[in-house]
């Protein structure tokens, strides 16, 4: 027998690649000793499997079902869940900016009800209301003065979507256009200055958003003409 026992056992256990399997099969044809070994090991495998198979069909004892249902979960796990429920959905929309997520999450306070610039839709963050209107129509090159959402830059992302940075009174972020809505791809608090200071339009976009945009962008931001053209095509 020229084949090693270990490789024959791997053959029996289905651990070999298709090409190795065919090589062993070819060698087995000329090696009665190896064939007998494979037969014995196949039988061994089947017998051990079959001997314990009835355990899979037995009804599960109540005490085990009760243990699964009633054993309290560690408080550390529950704490972690609670933290990730508050911040986890901010992560949800982050494609390339994963490394920045922690920075984005810090300091963000979002109203859990869907009143405000951001809503959840099927588990993703989308822009709504005045922010969605601004994303649809506002040109960064012709930003209105005063309060309300402001658009920073518009660009094509590496994944092919058209994206825009934005700022409202409370949050700043990046929204990318999908078929029916603006998905929020990154989000951070824009309240970096002390309350009462009026933020100039297009002034200090939070660094984390700037960095996230740089990570996402393919080429350069749209100029005024490209931005207008994208808007007229509905940002698709």
């Amino acid at each position: 027998m020229t084949l090693s026992k270990e490789i024959l056992m791997q053959f029996v256990d289905g651990e070999l690649s298709p090409s190795e399997t065919s090589r062993i099969e070819a060698e087995l044809a000329n090696d009665a000793e190896a064939r007998a070994f494979v037969d014995a090991q196949t039988m061994l495998r089947e017998q051990f499997h079959d001997a314990f198979a009835p355990a899979m069909e037995e009804p599960i004892p109540d005490r085990l079902l009760a243990a699964v249902a009633n054993t309290p979960v560690s408080w550390r796990w529950r704490l972690r869940q609670r933290l990730s429920q508050r911040t986890g959905w901010i992560w949800a929309g982050l494609p390339a900016a994963g490394a920045l997520a922690l920075g984005l999450v810090i300091g963000v306070t979002l109203n859990p009800s869907n009143v405000g610039p951001i809503a959840t839709l099927n588990g993703t963050l989308v822009a709504q209301g005045a922010l969605a209107d601004a994303l649809n129509t506002q040109l960064a090159s012709a930003a209105p003065q005063g309060s309300g959402p402001h658009i920073g830059i518009s660009f094509r992302a590496k994944d092919g979507r058209n994206c825009r940075t934005f700022e409202t009174d409370s949050v700043a972020g990046i929204a990318c256009r999908s078929d029916a809505q603006w998905n929020v791809a990154a989000l951070a608090s824009s309240k970096t200055e002390s309350a009462g200071t009026y933020r100039m339009a297009g002034s200090a976009m939070p660094d984390v958003i700037r960095d996230a945009a740089q990570a996402m962008i393919a080429g350069a931001p749209f100029d005024a003409a490209a931005e207008r053209q994208a808007r007229d095509r509905g940002w698709k």
Binding site: M1, K5, E6, M9, Q10, D13, G14, E15, E33, A36, F37, A40, Q41, M43, L44, R45, Q47, F48, H49, D50, A51, F52, A53, A55, M56, E57, E58, I60, P61, R63, L64, L65, A67, V68, A69, T71, P72, V73, S74, R76, W77, R80, Q81, S84, Q85, G88, W89, A92, G123
Partner: protein, 169 residues
């Protein structure tokens, strides 16, 4: 967002048959097996923060089960100072004929002759049907360690189950 506790408990319930079978092949009797599964479930839930979400729940629970079992076996051995099984026994009666099906008791007896590490690998690969890679993941050892432990276990089992004939291989 993380998996909800309800969905984790559901996954655990779905794992119970496999865990019971695994525990049965380790312990060799139904009462000890169910004790082991219960301890495993309770330990898993009480230490759920140690489970890395996104990794396989089944591998993690099998690992807990085998650790608990090895601890039990070792503490029993220290207390009793008596070998669990006569390691020099021959093939069990009725199993000498390679065509004969092994009874459940024969299988358990044969498994009981193996060192714990080998018994765990046989239980994972032959009884549960895990791939070597998954068994290595449960045990936290390289795949080559699974391959060699399994090879030694199989030679011992073949000798015991099929009699002296197997030694000619």
């Amino acid at each position: 967002m993380g998996a909800s506790i309800d969905s984790i408990r559901n996954q655990m319930t779905a794992l119970l048959p496999r865990l019971r079978r695994f525990a049965l092949s380790l312990t060799g009797n139904a009462a000890d097996a169910d004790d082991l599964v219960q301890d495993t479930v309770e330990k898993a839930l009480r230490n759920l923060h140690r489970w890395e979400e996104g990794t396989r729940l089944d591998s993690w629970m099998f690992r807990i089960a085998q650790n608990l079992w090895i601890d039990t076996v070792r503490s029993k051995r220290v207390k009793s100072s008596v070998p669990l099984e006569d390691h020099h026994g021959g093939a069990s009666d009725g199993a000498r004929d390679a065509e004969a099906r092994l009874t459940f008791a024969d299988t358990c007896k044969a498994l009981a002759t193996l060192p714990e590490e080998q018994r765990v690998v046989v239980s994972l690969v032959l009884v549960d049907g895990m791939a070597y890679r998954d068994a290595a993941d449960v045990l936290g050892v390289p795949i080559g360690t699974v391959t060699s432990r399994l090879a030694r276990a199989r030679e011992a089992l073949a000798t015991r189950v099929f009699g002296k004939k197997a030694e000619t291989f």
